[in-house]
Subunit: 516 residues, 2 copies
């Protein structure tokens, strides 16, 4: 990307673009002039687009060097391109996309970058040391919440090396069509969350006894090989458990066995190749694709160069940029897997009588994003420039180092839940509008696309990518800052804002199958 | 129902039944004899069925006077009828069911039964006095949980008349196909939960700002008429809110305004006609339809006689007994509404490549229920004998006094969430296997189908219907006990076990529409 700064007021990303985005914090008034001489005819808000040439009706509107839509009517040079003036193009056809046609960039390996993590027996590395309590059904959530509180009060003070106890409550397990084909998604998600590196291979499963999801299915294969330390499943309907106190006593006893082992763990120096980073954006605006997402993409490339793992996600936010991704896959089979995820989602939306325009929120639009095409082009900037080495389905575990596309919905909390299941030990989340989103199971670093947000939410935003818009920093500088922050947070040297405040969202499963 | 007790060991419900259910707590050994002379050939566990006659292959197996299946092979008299021997019948066809053909039973009105409730301006009555905080999106859940904790610690002690503060967190709001036809279900559910009588008409809505579900949509119409006291929507992305402390300060300030008003409320004597009771069963066994559900049905009839409102629900658990319900509706339009809910659900399951056999859990089967037909026949016993005066869709509000069918999935926590939205002020929940399920928003009285469970979970079960199986009590006696308990709990004179222990489940929405 060739980013030209025009008196710090607007940005045109690609030389073929016929629009620029206003980046002046308070927008620009009619009568302002851009560096290329364009005279603003309308007031244009921060993040919104200005026509740099006279557009006739049906002309292509080009941003990022790509067609983001067609002019609904003639739009004179200097006019604000409101979303109502942009007709959305068809999504790229899947039929004849170029697959694995781009030469993978030659990266110099990046060595010597390390963090202090908790090494697990399976080779993975935790960035936190948490007792995760797995449940097979929502019915037990009240008991598990009570249990977690008791553990926090009565046991955790005795085990200072343990960061936290987390109840892995969810809405699944009973009242579900467990044999429906799509049920595999929530089931494997729950199976794999238990295996997240931040739980240290300690597996504690609590079930009710009559649920459809047999708690045995949540015992990972590592228990058979001894790589994970798994206590017997606790079933509340078990006849040995007489009354609530007996239940809680049994649960506390099992929990303590896990805590004893977790407490023996210590951080050790690990190479950056042990990072498994999930990338997401939410509450995006037109600056997302100009500041925060490119900086995240730069950091993603650094992590890949260091031998680490990076996941980008959000099917509905890459669908319209899929023609830019298929050339980047390493081979035909990865390309086909990528296309299959797109096709599956197209059909899923169609069955529900929705389409891709269901993405882009009112907030996105207020932030200047006309449609999902423009949003997708900005969204994929997070993936950097690396080759895409693998594609995993929703709820599957990551398999390879390098850049993986983890297919998930774009919903922040569903995507985060699925990235946890994939095995991420840290998440990076960009936002233009602002969100308090975070997870208890893995740190979430939040990057603002603009300094207005970063300043206003000074205790909720971890990094400000806004200086890229004003030219005070460049993408590489913020990308390096982010990488350094990732290593600090992964090491426990720095806490994220959300962790400091104790703000955490619920696990939310992706269940495309029916409930009963 | 003509319930014959056979030495307290087995129950045959209907004279045409060719099976009996073993109700001896430890089951019966082969060689035991039933009162009708049947000699047991197999060991038969508690709750399981015995053939009372020699059945040939394909013979009808009859329980509750209804065909619950066909013999897969010859089954000799005295044999255990394991579920594998029962071939499930087709679901009743919807085409030519008798509608409104049954003369409504002539009930003597029941007067003078009262409870102490919180009268609301709209005429409804709360059984608790709770500040409910409504949210438009999961993204804000971490902030709302923090807020609720702060309110509990800092504000509630000053307002002793207020029972609790409840964060109405949920998984909806962003990343959803909000214009998909089925999205109306989660949206109206959230709209109507805010209006639950236990929140006293105090409406506090917290949004993020960029979500798809406009928080304005969660403001009920009562705000415009002044019947509800609604504070301005708090939007976290609002530029006035600088940083987390400012957010929390603003939220606490608004919360306190509501608490001041809630604190002025007092319980007053209300007729039982102000009860809005939701009925559910979960973790059912073969005794559910013999003990707890008929007792609940008896109590339901009492409440209807007293002029109150009762809802029964769970489409997949009435579907196979629909031919017994259509005659009971008050008119053709209610009958058609009932059929439409069944048809909608049949199609919903079909789209997800599931069918009605997706209901019945492993626990149901261990408890002796062969299939969904047998389960449904036992389930509808909860509805008693009243006429069905209305049918509401998932997430809709109850409209009439008397017995309403509120169409919901059978999933306990989803059904409970939808019954809250319908306006229930108290729930009655029967269980054979046992569940800690409860809700923070309304009391949930749990009724055990058997004394073994009631004794073992003495501090989790509120009422034992087991003595019906042993003949120590009859259905009417337990039904009267339950009605008295409902009045006590609704009055705050008695606490449910779950409320005493603070065990509460999450709200879980029914969202048949896609996520994006």
């Amino acid at each position: 990307m060739n980013t030209e700064h025009v008196i710090g007021l607007s940005i045109k990303v690609h030389e073929q673009d016929n629009v620029a985005v206003v980046v002046s914090a308070k927008g620009l008034r009619a009568g302002s002039r851009l560096q290329d001489g364009t005279l603003l005819v309308d007031d244009v808000a921060h993040g919104h687009k200005v026509a740099l040439v006279d557009l006739s009706a049906n002309d292509e509107i080009v941003r990022y060097g790509e067609v983001i839509g067609y002019a609904q009517q003639a739009i004179g040079r200097g006019r604000w391109i409101d979303e109502s003036l942009v007709r959305m193009p068809q999504a790229p056809a899947m039929g004849d996309l170029p697959i694995a046609t781009r030469q993978a960039p030659v990266f110099e390996p990046l060595t010597g970058r390390t963090f202090e993590g908790y090494r697990n027996a399976d080779g993975s590395v935790g960035t936190k040391n948490i007792l995760g309590i797995t449940t097979s059904v929502q019915c037990v959530a009240g008991v598990i919440n009570h249990l977690a509180q008791r553990i926090r009060q009565e046991l955790l003070p005795k085990y200072p090396q343990v960061d936290d106890v987390v109840a892995l409550n969810h809405s699944y397990g009973c009242g579900v069509a467990i044999d429906a084909p799509a049920a595999i998604i929530p089931i494997r998600t729950l199976q794999n969350i238990t295996r997240n590196p931040n739980f240290g291979g300690e597996v504690m499963v609590v079930g009710l006894g009559c649920e459809k999801l047999d708690p045995q299915r949540l015992i990972p294969p590592e228990c058979a090989t001894g790589i994970a330390a798994c206590s017997p499943i606790l079933t509340l309907q078990d006849t040995v458990l007489t009354g609530f106190n007996a239940m809680i006593a049994a649960l506390l006893k099992t929990a303590e066995e896990h805590l004893v082992r977790l407490n023996q763990r210590h951080r050790e120096t690990c190479p950056a190749s042990d990072l498994v980073i999930g990338l997401q954006c939410g509450g995006s605006d037109a600056l997302s694709g100009l500041t925060a997402n490119p900086a995240v993409g730069y950091a993603a490339d650094l992590i890949v160069r260091a031998g680490g793992s990076v996941m980008f996600s959000e099917v509905t936010e890459v669908r319209d940029a899929i023609h830019l991704l298929t050339p980047r896959v390493i081979d035909e089979s990865v390309g086909q897997a990528l296309l299959q995820e797109m096709i599956w989602y197209d059909r899923y939306l169609q069955l529900g009588e929705a389409d891709r325009s269901a993405n882009t929120t009112p907030g996105n639009k207020q932030g200047g994003l006309a449609n999902i095409v423009e949003k997708a082009l900005g969204s994929i900037a997070k993936s950097g420039t690396s080759a895409i080495v693998d594609v995993i389905g929703p709820g599957e575990r990551i398999r390879r180092k390098g850049l993986t596309f983890a297919a998930t919905p774009a919903s922040d909390f569903i995507c985060g839940t699925l990235q946890l299941a994939a095995g991420m030990n840290l998440e990076v989340f960009t936002t233009g509008r602002g969100t308090p989103y975070s997870l208890a199971m893995a740190p979430v670093i939040k990057v603002a696309t603009n300094s207005t947000l970063a300043n206003r939410w000074h205790d909720l935003i971890d990094l400000d990518a806004g200086p890229i818009a004003t030219g005070e920093k460049n993408i590489a500088e913020v990308g390096e800052d982010l990488f350094a922050l990732i290593l600090d947070v992964a090491s426990g040297r720095k806490q994220t804002c959300a962790d400091r405040l104790g703000l955490h969202n619920d696990l939310v499963l992706f269940n495309p199958a029916p409930v009963t």
